[in-house]
């Protein structure tokens, strides 16, 4: 069957990653067709915390580069995107964690990132709502927050981008088949369907890590920075079993967004009450005054995790014409701009702004696929 060539590139999935890729390609003059069936994904569920993570050099490079992109975008983002450069405080509960904070400061500083170690008194002055016995915190000044669903709309509002509601049911090199039977072709297809990529590309090693969040009613602003316990990193990388960590984010509305939890294997969108309670206990442990605030809603989302925790950005090694922008786990809102630049640079044969090797899909897809 003949496929109609509809654009230079088809991007499947209009989450933050697909939208950022479409934008990066359109800025290079390519005609981009974006397809999404509006089933919704992680972008609508995420916290929108823009933060540098430094568990390995690749993650640090990608997140730091992406944060620079966000700061460059900031003046142009519409108000609805709710971007704020409010900084992150990594909370140290004891001397051991304070040492961790100091080591983190070292790593981030060598990367030229703005960060400052706060002692107990300075921390209390910065965030009086925190419990009084904390040992200090590392303040990362360049971090921020954003409301990602509206960033998607902003990214896609470009003269070279067409957006269309359609469900892709099959991939075939640089062509796709839609649920209504139509086939569309292009010079390349970028797959950015988040955790649902497995339905189209079963060989991808992506697993869901479910997260639950809670938002409070509006209150007078008492918290300014995003507050994360240093234990978060441990929690985020735990390989099995559910985990929780304190993550409290002040929204520009005066609401507080409270996370975070990780659960393996579950695709059930329902709220796990026990895990929710444990997550909230962590938050109340750090900010005791939270206990009396009203929660208005909880929801959940799925992070798409790759085996090594890093995204897959680049050509599918065994399916010519198909490109992947997937597997962003819990950092895809942050790293969408950098991911898009890495993908677009490869697709357009440019010199990428960062080393791409740690992100190439072939690292996780060594064998020839049966597709």
């Amino acid at each position: 069957m003949n496929a109609r060539r509809c654009a230079d590139v088809i991007v499947v999935g209009a989450g933050i990653v697909g939208a950022a890729c479409a934008r990066a390609l359109a800025q290079r003059g390519l005609e981009v067709q974006v397809l999404d069936d509006y089933r919704g994904g992680a972008t609508a569920a995420g916290m929108g915390h823009l933060l540098v993570l430094d568990d390995n050099p690749a993650e640090l490079a990608l997140s730091a580069y992406s944060l620079q992109c966000w700061r460059d975008w900031a003046p142009r983002l519409p108000a609805g995107c709710a971007y704020r450069n409010n900084g992150t405080l990594w909370l140290a509960a004891d001397a051991e964690e304070l040492a961790l904070a100091a080591a983190k400061q070292q790593r981030l500083s060598t990367h030229g990132l703005d960060c400052e170690l706060l002692g107990a008194a300075a921390l209390r002055a910065a965030e009086p709502a925190l419990r009084a016995d904390l040992h200090g915190a590392l303040k990362v000044g360049g971090d921020g927050i954003v409301y990602a669903p509206n960033v998607v709309d902003w990214l896609l509002a470009h003269e070279h981008i067409r957006r269309c509601r359609a469900q892709v049911v099959e991939l075939d090199g640089a062509a796709v088949r839609l649920a209504d039977g139509r086939r569309l072709a292009a010079g390349a297809v970028v797959l950015a369907t988040g955790i649902d990529a497995g339905a189209l590309c079963p060989e991808l090693p992506l697993t869901p890590k479910k997260g639950q969040l809670l938002i409070t009613d509006r209150y007078p602003r008492e918290i300014r920075h995003t507050l994360v316990e240093l234990g978060y990193v441990k929690s985020a990388h735990q390989a099995t079993g559910p985990s929780v960590a304190c993550n409290i984010q002040p929204r520009p509305t005066g609401q507080l967004l409270i996370g975070s939890s990780r659960q393996f294997g579950s695709r059930d969108p329902g709220i796990d009450g026990t895990l929710l309670a444990r997550m909230l206990k962590r938050a109340v442990h750090y900010v005791p005054g939270l206990a009396t605030l009203n929660a208005i809603r909880c929801w959940s989302g799925l992070r798409a995790a790759s085996p090594d925790g890093q995204p897959l950005l680049g050509p599918h090694p065994h399916r010519p014409g198909l490109w992947l922008a997937l597997g962003h786990e819990g950092l895809g809102i942050t790293t969408a701009p950098g991911s898009a630049e890495l993908l677009a640079a490869q697709l357009c044969d440019e010199r990428p702004p960062l080393p791409v090797a740690p992100f190439l899909p072939q690292r996780l897809l060594p064998e020839a696929a049966d597709a």
């Binding site: 509006y38 309670a277 962590r282 208005i296």
Partner: protein, 422 residues
């Protein structure tokens, strides 16, 4: 804290009270939960200026006499807790209740539709105005306009007059011919409220609906369409009742099926979920008489007294016909879907105007783009309005069902472990 009951009943309106009384004779341990300070629901509300009807006083007294019925007033069901459990919140604390069987008597709330000026102080729902009057709101000498549809408008007018207000107009959107047909059938359903439906009320107009509330800082007047004409009336209050929306959030969270936006039940008032029953306005609107009967049937069925439940079926059927007559007579004119102007707020919590919603593919997309329904009411008001305005399906409920203290949600931890580092 955790307690266990044979039967839990959510909602102590007419349906919940009669369910509790019907089930009580069995000796089952029963918990009756309601978020209001005293039992009575929407229709029997206490307040400084209220004298409740004899029936309400009798039912309350009977309820108080049941040793095996624990009434928890001012207690809200905020989430499910485990397979047969509820998370509750009262003024002091959050606590959990486990049940073997459950009856949902969660009633209905008013449908509020946006029109220009509807957010001005002085504008309220028709049921909302009644609640304010019961609460002691002084309206003596004030000019009141009541608009919308259904017998509730007349009940509202009667209350307003009793409190000394001057009712300038009762604007009913249904056509005169329909109203006359409905009124002619009323003697079949003797009941106090329904007899009070007097079409001869000089303020009553059919084929009339609100177009705009007028005023700068607060309400000064109202613009109505009456038949083919536009009229403006000066007034201090406007109460609009466009109908009721069944409270189905808890039922949906439990997995109960819905029918026509209300909880679907069979002849025994049983829902699609084993051991869970529903009665009253949450299964469809039909007035307090039907709610009382359905409550009794559900109460008997839930304690396996099937013969007693079945004996009430004929009476229920009679009032179901009345409910049907209500539904067909007061079906909303599609014109009421187009009252809002581009800048009319649809979501009051988040200040989202009509124009920010129109054109979206559905509730979810509109909500993500505009924040509609993301505020404290969580779409209870604007979600129902959007359903009427755009036909969007109602959002799936997420806990908490109503705002709840974080301390209450901490009770959801089954194992009650001390806070642990990850």
């Amino acid at each position: 804290m955790k307690r266990a009951y044979d039967l839990a009943i959510i909602g102590a309106g007419p349906a919940g009270i009669s369910a509790a009384l019907a089930a009580a004779a069995s000796g089952a341990r029963i918990a009756l939960l309601d978020d209001n300070p005293v039992a009575g629901g929407q229709i029997w509300r206490d307040g400084p200026q209220v004298r409740l009807p004899a029936l309400a006083r009798r039912l309350r007294a009977e309820l108080a006499a049941q040793a095996n019925v624990d009434c928890f007033a001012a207690t809200r069901v905020v989430a499910l807790a485990g397979p047969r459990g509820l998370l509750l919140e009262d003024e002091q604390r959050g606590w959990r209740l486990d049940y073997a069987r459950l009856i949902l008597c969660t009633g209905a709330r008013e449908l509020l539709l946006p029109f220009p000026g509807w957010t001005l102080p002085g504008v309220s729902g028709a049921g909302g105005l009644q609640a304010l009057l019961h609460g002691g709101l002084p309206v003596h000498g004030e000019r009141v306009v009541i608009a919308g549809s259904g017998p509730l408008l007349l009940a509202c007018a009667a209350s307003a007059r009793r409190h000394g207000a001057r009712v300038q107009r009762i604007a009913e959107q249904a056509a005169w011919s329909t109203l006359a047909r409905f009124a002619a059938g009323l003697p079949r359903w003797p009941g106090k409220l329904w007899q009070s439906l007097r079409l001869l009320d000089p303020a009553y107009r059919g084929a009339s609906h609100v177009i705009a509330a007028l005023g700068r800082e607060r309400l000064e007047g109202v613009r109505l369409r009456q038949g083919g004409q536009i009229v403006e009336l000066e007034c201090e209050r406007l109460a609009c009742g466009f109908g009721l929306v069944a409270n189905t959030e808890i039922a949906q969270a439990l997995g109960c099926a819905l029918r026509d936006d209300a909880i679907a039940v069979n002849d025994w008032q049983a829902t699609a979920c084993d051991g869970i029953y529903a009665a009253g306005e949450c299964t469809g609107c039909g007035g307090s008489e039907l709610a009382l009967l359905e409550g009794s049937i559900a109460g008997y069925a839930a304690v396996d007294e099937h013969a007693r439940a079945q004996a009430l079926w004929p009476q229920r059927q009679r009032w179901q016909r009345f409910a049907e007559a209500l539904r067909t007579s007061f079906a909303l004119d599609p014109a009421l879907r187009h009252l809002a102007a581009a800048d009319t707020l649809v979501c009051r919590c988040e200040d989202v105007p009509y124009a920010a919603l129109a054109g979206h593919a559905g509730w979810h997309a509109a909500k993500l783009a505009s924040r509609c329904g993301m505020g404290a009411c969580q779409g209870r008001v604007c979600g129902a309005a959007a359903r009427t305005l755009f036909g969007w399906s109602r959002p799936a409920p997420r806990p908490p069902f109503t705002p709840a203290r974080i301390a209450t949600l901490l009770e959801l931890d089954d194992e009650q472990e001390p806070p642990c580092a990850p």
